[in-house]
């Protein structure tokens, strides 16, 4: 029985038990969607607990530990409390858009899960254009911020939202540019093909700079520290979701946690081999593929949690400068360099042939060349930045040195 997506798995079974063919198709699509869409919501509940415990331990305190053993039931208590809160809609708010905005934000994250390959035989739907679909769907989240702020009928929400939207759209550029590299290396935009192409060598070793760029951009896209002006509660009086209370506010937050984990999953799929484990194990026991994927995603998720709890927030102008004057030029040069090195590798003849593409050893020469190129580019960039900073600092101290000469009389 063919098993590459839920339609092929479930529909023949239903047809055999006497259902009409098309109706079985429809029912299997329906069931597949329900399963795939509910799963991230369940994961989010665990994530809320994990994040609070992790942040607490870093801050040398205990975190939730009253509700259930180790505070494990804390998210449930939170959900029950939030369900009982009164729904206060501000006066003059645009009712329809006000209610749609949190739903759209969560929807934009859930839609990403439709194309993520969970194991060699389980994938929601293997879209031919998976990588581009992910970026397109992420733009719905940006729209939901605009809807939320506008319908709240509140100056401060609008002000906060414009800054947030400027941040979100700016960081989409290096995100997509660094997404070009796995597409180029795998020769396909489908996430399943990208994962399969890493059977020989994970892309994080072949293109580490792209992985770093993708990680930074995706952190900024979700509004995670150090780019968390979205939730800068001490600054813009809670920003664009200021007029939201109760369950809608909870949905915004849950959507953000889900988005961070989804980004971890995407990093794992695009750069760390997805469901590929050791020695082809996942081909014999497909469920192990899911386990491997989530292990890798958790590593990236914990990395983002660490960064969030350790690094202070950047200012909005530092944010924009960092993107347009550092990330975008670096990603453009990265794309050009990787393209050039790929052609060089092909010309030198050390690229692995299609038959040997899955062999680890055959991939090593190409990996070494590309890795060396990445390292050289990284060192160049660091050099340029540090020399610029040194020049600025020298200038600043020179300016400061002049003033005390005349003062003091």
């Amino acid at each position: 029985m063919q098993c590459d997506n839920i339609i092929n798995t479930l529909a023949p079974c239903l047809v055999q038990s006497g259902w009409n063919g098309d109706l079985a198709n429809f029912a299997s699509i329906f069931l597949g969607v329900i399963i795939l869409a509910t799963f991230p919501l369940l994961v989010t509940i665990v994530l809320i607990w994990f994040e609070r415990k992790f942040a607490a331990r870093i801050q040398d305190r205990l975190g939730p530990n009253r509700v259930g053993p180790f505070g494990l039931l804390q998210p449930f208590a939170d959900v029950i409390k939030l369900l009982g809160k009164e729904d206060i809609t501000p006066a003059g708010a645009d009712k329809l858009i006000y209610n749609i905005a949190p739903v759209m934000m969560v929807m934009s994250v859930l839609l990403i899960w439709a194309v993520v390959p969970l194991s060699p035989i389980h994938v929601g739907m293997d879209l031919e254009i998976g990588a581009l679909y992910i970026i397109s769907v992420a733009s719905f989240g940006t729209l939901s911020v605009i809807f939320a702020s506008w319908s709240s009928n509140n100056k401060y929400a609008l002000l906060g939202a414009f800054r947030v939207v400027a941040q979100l759209i700016s960081y989409e550029v290096p995100l997509a540019l660094s997404l070009l590299i796995p597409v180029m290396l795998a020769g396909s935009m489908s996430l399943v093909d990208i994962t399969q192409a890493q059977a020989g060598m994970w892309f994080i070793f072949v293109a580490p700079l792209s992985a770093i760029l993708f990680f930074i951009s995706s952190q900024a896209e979700t509004g995670r520290a150090p780019f968390d002006l979205l939730e800068a509660e001490s600054e813009l009086v809670a920003g664009f979701n200021i007029e939201y209370s109760g369950m809608k506010f909870a949905l915004f937050f849950a959507g953000e946690f889900m988005h961070v984990f989804t980004n971890g999953v995407l990093m794992a799929v695009l750069f760390a081999g997805g469901y590929i484990g050791f020695g082809g194990l996942e081909n014999s026991i497909p469920l192990l593929g899911i386990v491997f994927l989530f292990l890798k995603a958790s590593v990236f998720y914990m990395l983002s949690l660490l960064i969030r709890n350790a690094i202070p927030r950047v200012r909005i102008d530092q944010l924009m400068n960092f993107n347009w004057k550092f990330l975008v030029p670096v990603s453009i040069v990265n794309v050009v360099m990787m393209a050039f090195l790929l052609k060089v590798v092909q010309a030198l003849g050390i690229a692995p042939t299609p038959e040997l593409a899955n062999d680890f050893v055959a991939n090593i020469p190409q990996t070494l060349v590309l890795f060396a190129g990445n390292v050289v580019l990284g060192l160049l960039v660091m050099n340029t930045v540090s020399s610029r900073i040194r020049k600025e600092r020298l200038q600043e101290s020179a300016n400061r040195a002049i003033v005390p000469m005349g003062a003091g009389d």
Partner: protein, 173 residues
């Protein structure tokens, strides 16, 4: 799923996207609140993305959502939200609206008769034989005997657009 001899799933999806597109367009032109109009516009563009999917061009559908809804829709929203007094238009700005309506209707009828009616009934064959998948599109964009010149000219056009926009929009200091 066959409910009758004509109602295939493709026809059903086509009808759905038609309702989305036309309904959204109707909402754009009749809405008194400009922000609502911008939102209806995004719905229309989403319907058009659906059409691209039906025409077996998923790449273009994604591009439609990414560029039109994700960039141009947001620019429209910025422009509408940052301009004062756009939420409740009450005055009529154009007194010869019936003349404009007549001209638009004439142009539409001419378009229908001249372009669509002769082509009515021809369906099924893909428009291009060479470019049928996204990979073919990629090859076609840089092949010396295909579309590499329009590819480069497009980048020149984008550069010109950006420089023009910057020249117009920035404050003169």
């Amino acid at each position: 799923m066959n409910f009758g001899e004509g109602l295939t799933p493709e026809a059903f999806a086509f009808g759905l996207f038609t309702i989305l597109t036309l309904g959204g367009a109707l909402g754009v032109v009749t809405s008194l609140n400009l922000v609502r109009a911008a939102i209806w516009l995004m719905l229309t563009l989403f319907g058009i993305a659906g059409y691209f999917v039906l025409l077996s061009a998923p790449f273009l559908a994604s591009v439609q959502v990414l560029v039109y809804i994700g960039a141009i829709g947001i620019l429209f929203s910025f422009a509408v939200m940052l301009t004062r007094g756009m939420t409740n238009l009450k005055e009529r700005f154009n007194d010869q609206w019936w003349l404009a309506g007549l001209a638009a209707l004439t142009a539409f009828v001419l378009l229908m008769v001249g372009v669509i009616v002769p082509a009515f009934g021809n369906s099924g064959a893909p428009v291009s034989d060479q470019v049928t998948t996204t990979v073919d599109l990629g090859v076609a964009l840089v092949s010396g005997n295909q579309y590499v010149l329009p590819f480069e000219v497009a980048s020149l056009l984008l550069t010109a657009a950006m420089i023009g926009a910057i020249v117009i929009a920035r404050e003169d200091d």
